[in-house]
């Protein structure tokens, strides 16, 4: 399995003694937490886009960084050195460490000019903590503080990122700790510098790297993984074993298609899969996400289609498994699963490709 989530349980390590010694909670609070109740729960983190006049647009819902987890600390830093700031968030439970890669602009996009600045003070302590850096250009002049320790329980990295928009350069001024104001002149967009108090700026070499893409939403497996035997259910909830070696003994690929009767995009691709299955190009296995009382809807659609598909369903009841068999829970996070999605397997059960969205040809 590709998932590398550490599922180590903090509580299992903690002794009861530690609980008693460390808990600040009153009886009622403890009870509330242990009972799993919510208090201002499921509130989502916010993303406000500044317009430059002090007003903001709320794009939280479209941000991909609006986790409903209970977040406390956070910082921004350019972890892939592509010029824009990514966000790290520390939550108090469940998925605790969230890193959000900034994908607002394509790397190198003309509208995404940046200037990355670090400081080296000489009058006072060299890190320049507390300095104010101002960068001016067609957008006005914007100031940021070299801050270590702010927000809530969080410490920012000692680097400031200024957006230059489509401008080719920005003019930089630093008010150093101690009060010396120094004008460093103009710097080209997409450059990285250490500004030395009273000295020449030093260019910083770029160290671009890739923050790898996540798995497809809701999938706990990725291309290359082997799914030797999978356990699902038939329309009546009975255990069915999907064995790629058996189904694809002829060497044709298996298209494991994740769909639902309520999903028009899913239904739209079924005729194409039918044609390919009937032409002997592939084996099609439909795995429906329909809830039990909608399985009849799914069956009706497949009956009408009359295609040579293997029809499978998920079930909320646990199914017996023996060694080497994987179940829905091992493969999918149903809360997040994107449909339609299709896993293309070979006879070994190895995932060749994952197709997110409708199959077009």
């Amino acid at each position: 399995m590709a998932s590398s989530v550490e599922s180590g349980t903090e509580a299992s390590i903690a002794s009861e003694q530690e609980v008693n010694n460390s808990s600040f909670l009153s009886f009622h609070s403890s009870q509330m937490f242990t009972d799993g109740l919510s208090f201002s729960g499921f509130e989502r983190n916010k993303v406000f886009i500044g317009k430059g006049d002090g007003s903001f647009s709320d794009l939280s819902n479209l941000s991909g960084a609006d986790t409903p987890n209970d977040s406390r600390g956070a910082l921004w830093a350019d972890f892939d050195d592509d010029g824009d700031a990514d966000i790290f968030v520390h939550n108090v439970q469940r998925e605790r460490h969230d890193l959000y890669r900034n994908d607002i602009h394509e790397p190198g996009s003309p509208a995404a000019g940046f200037l990355k600045l670090r400081l080296r003070a000489t009058t006072l302590q060299y890190e320049g903590i507390g300095a104010t850096v101002t960068v001016s250009g067609p957008w006005g002049k914007t100031s940021q503080v070299m801050s270590r320790g702010a927000g809530f329980n969080s410490c920012q990295v000692p680097e400031l990122i200024f957006g230059l928009g489509a401008s080719k350069s920005g003019r930089v001024q630093v008010t150093w700790p101690g009060g010396v104001v120094e004008d460093f002149g103009s710097f080209d967009a997409r450059t990285r510098w250490t500004l030395v108090e009273g000295g020449e700026p030093v260019a910083i070499a770029a160290q671009p790297r890739t923050l790898p893409d996540p798995l497809s939403p809701g999938l706990k497996v990725e291309s290359g993984d082997i799914l030797a035997k999978m356990v699902f259910a038939d329309k009546d909830g009975n255990r069915v074993v999907l064995d790629p070696a058996e189904l694809a003994a002829d060497g044709k690929p298996i298209y494991l298609n994740l769909w639902a009767s309520y999903c028009p995009g899913c239904i739209a691709e079924l005729p194409l899969l039918k044609r390919k299955a009937e032409a002997g190009e592939m084996h099609v296995v439909t795995l429906s996400m329909d809830r039990p009382d909608a399985i009849s809807d799914a069956e009706a659609i497949l009956d009408k289609l009359d295609a040579p598909f293997t029809r499978l369903y998920i079930t909320e009841q646990p199914l017996d498994t023996s060694g080497g068999e994987v179940t829905t829970e091992d493969l999918f996070d149903l809360e997040r699963l994107a449909i339609p999605s299709t896993l293309v397997l070979n006879s070994e059960g190895r995932i060749q490709t994952i197709i997110r969205g409708p199959i077009r040809k």
Binding site: E6, E10, A14, F24, S30, F33, T34, L37, F39, S40, G41, F42, K46, V47, K51, G52, D53, G54, S55, F56, S57, L59, N61, L62, S63, G64, D70, S71, R72, G73, A74, W76, A85, Q93, R94, H97, I104, G113, Q125, I129, G130, T132, Q144, V145, S147, R148, G149, G151, F152, C155, V157, L164, P177, L211, P214, Y262, C263, P264, G265, A338
Partner: protein, 597 residues
């Protein structure tokens, strides 16, 4: 905490006491005390499916002609409705449209939530769009078609991330049947096929009626409907693929009573030019060293910082000016009932080049205190950076002594850096030993006079903007500068939000839907106490620095401040357009149950 949960519960209790005492004394005749609960011989006309039910052409949810006015009864019903529809929203999120039928009355008549009718599309920043529907033209349908419209709308999505029904207000009719007019805000978040995020927000008036002990939806009128879209999300979560993912025990599972509010510190631990991360947790700490391939390697054990576990804030800072990043950790500590020490002292891990060594006690960065945010500043300009410790209150010993300006918290501490050789607390001499319930602080030379000033935010209190006098002392000039913000202050950060070159200030407070709902029902809206409570529940604040150096709070209508129960704010230019943006952590406690207490 220390979690402020207990205090919040008490705040709620206090609010109730205040509300109930005011309403029972001044607003209600005693005969109304059992309203809404009085038995009646009249059967509900809508108890059974109405065979002769005819769908009206228009729906206008009527207001109760004789509304219940006893506020705690109204709030109890409001909460019942809110919790009942949490479960409904969950079925919709699961796209179990069959199960969702239970919530809708057979004689329901209401406007479809998802339908094809007149709309207008406008542009949002960053190539996002907003489709605003002519809500009055949404077709009126019965139960089956109403659910079918939701099935059609949500079924077309690749994935449904969240469905939320929030009760923003409610009125209930006296007597039987028990029914009410409810202000619902409905949110549907998810992604269309291909992964583009979609967000549908619909404001409604709903008619709900309690039938056979359960609240059912009997009518629905739209007052606005809009959909936000973008081709792709602004950010992509890459925690697992970069090796940062860590799963903690969720609330509601055995064992998770151990928690404190932990932050994160970023810095270059090993001098390779890449940003590493350190954070504490209940049972161990994490040190993620950034690798050249974009991944992170957890190295807390090798660097000697895996234990002692626990802690709240952490801070990277080169206190001895030897060129590497040392690590400061704050923690909660307090004296137990018999004088024994509980919790943990502060800690200072000195960077030895390839590992850390804890030397807090030896270097004087120690002490038992309810410590939260650590802030670095060279307050005395001696070239060695000092550390300010935000101290909260010790709730298991003593509750906050005031809701609007609590002063019995742990006294804040300023650790003076004695030439890189050690630390000593100089807060009393510096005028910083304030006993308010402080969660966070942020340092900057906001007045440009060369020394570093400090903004301190307090729970149950007001902001404190402290001007560095340049002689080792600070003076509170909050009122003079217009910064005396009342609120449950949780976090703060400096920024320049109008790109005029002057530093502005962001303060994260908590806000509460339930709190605002309750407060809006109070008749004494002009009283100072109610105004104060409103402000305490109002959310975040942005202070814009004016040309004369003073600040003015920006009206909420300019945006950027509605962040629910807010924690860490970040002020940075995420879209690289030259103007600062804001990210804000939100949410208090999310349990297994979506029902809010």
């Amino acid at each position: 905490m220390s979690n402020s949960l207990r205090n919040v519960l008490l705040l709620q209790s206090a609010l109730w006491l205040f509300l109930c005492s005011s309403c029972s004394k001044t607003e209600l005749p005693s005969s109304e005390s059992a309203e809404g609960e009085a038995p009646t011989s009249q059967p509900s006309q809508a108890e059974e499916v109405m065979p002769g039910f005819v769908l009206p052409q228009k729906v206008s949810v009527e207001a109760p002609s004789e509304p219940i006015v006893l506020m705690d009864v109204v709030e109890d019903y409001s909460e019942e409705v809110a919790n009942r529809f949490v479960a409904f929203a969950y079925e919709l999120k699961r796209r179990d449209f069959g199960a969702a039928e239970e919530w809708i009355a057979e004689d329901f008549a209401g406007q479809a939530l998802f339908a094809d009718y007149k709309s207008e599309v406008t542009a949002l920043p960053l190539n996002a769009s907003l489709e605003t529907f002519a809500h009055e033209e949404a077709p009126v349908v019965g139960k089956g078609d109403w659910l079918a419209s939701i099935k059609e709308g949500l079924g077309a999505w690749e994935h449904v991330d969240a469905v939320v029904f929030k009760v923003k207000g409610a009125e209930f009719q006296k007597g039987k049947p028990l029914w009410g007019k409810v202000r619902f805000k409905l949110s549907f978040l998810g992604s269309s096929v291909g992964g583009g995020p979609e967000a549908v927000t619909i404001w409604t008036w709903a008619r709900v009626e309690k039938r056979r002990g359960k609240w059912s939806l009997t009518g629905l009128e739209l007052t606005s409907s809009q959909t936000e879209r973008r081709a792709a999300p602004l950010f992509t979560e890459v925690s697992t693929s970069t090796g940062l993912a860590h799963s903690g025990v969720r609330f509601g599972k055995q064992g998770n009573t151990l928690f404190a509010w932990q932050g994160v510190a970023g810095g270059d631990v090993n001098g390779d030019g890449l940003w590493d991360l350190f954070m504490t947790s209940q049972t161990r700490n994490f040190l993620y060293l950034a690798q050249a391939d974009g991944s992170f390697e957890e190295s807390a054990e090798e660097w000697g910082v895996r234990k002692p576990a626990g802690g709240t804030s952490s801070l990277f800072l080169d206190f001895d000016n030897d060129g590497d990043q040392d690590l400061f950790v704050s923690d909660e500590g307090w004296q137990g009932p018999n004088g024994q020490t509980q919790g943990n002292p502060l800690r200072l891990f000195v960077n030895q080049g390839d590992k850390y060594e804890e030397q807090g006690a030896k270097l004087g960065f120690t002490g038992i205190m309810p410590a939260y945010t650590l802030t670095a500043l060279d307050y005395d300009m001696d070239g060695f950076v000092d550390v300010f410790v935000s101290n909260y209150g010790v709730q298991n010993k003593e509750n906050n002594n005031d809701w609007l300006n609590a002063t019995n918290g742990g006294k804040n501490v300023l650790f003076r850096n004695n030439g890189g050789k050690g630390f000593s607390d100089v807060a009393p001499a510096a005028g910083l030993d304030d006993g308010r319930w402080t969660y966070a602080s942020a340092a900057a030379d906001f007045d440009g006079d060369g020394d570093t000033d400090l903004n301190v935010v307090n729970d149950y209190g007001v902001n404190t903007l402290l001007e560095n006098q340049g002689d080792g002392t600070f003076v509170n000039r909050s009122e003079e500068w217009g910064i005396g913000d009342r609120g449950n202050g949780m976090g703060t950060m400096w920024g320049d939000f109008n790109s005029d070159g002057r530093l502005d200030l962001y303060v994260a407070n908590m806000s509460s839907t339930a709190g605002n709902r309750i407060l809006k029902r109070m008749k004494s809206q002009d009283s100072e106490v109610v105004k104060g409570l409103f402000k305490m529940a109002a959310g975040n604040s942005i202070f814009i620095q004016k040309e004369d150096g003073s600040f003015e709070v920006q009206p909420g209508s300019m945006g950027g401040v509605g962040a629910s129960w807010a924690w860490c704010p970040l002020t940075f230019d995420m879209d690289l357009d030259g103007h600062l943006d804001i990210y804000n952590c939100s949410g208090y406690v999310t349990g297994d149950s979506a029902e809010d207490t």
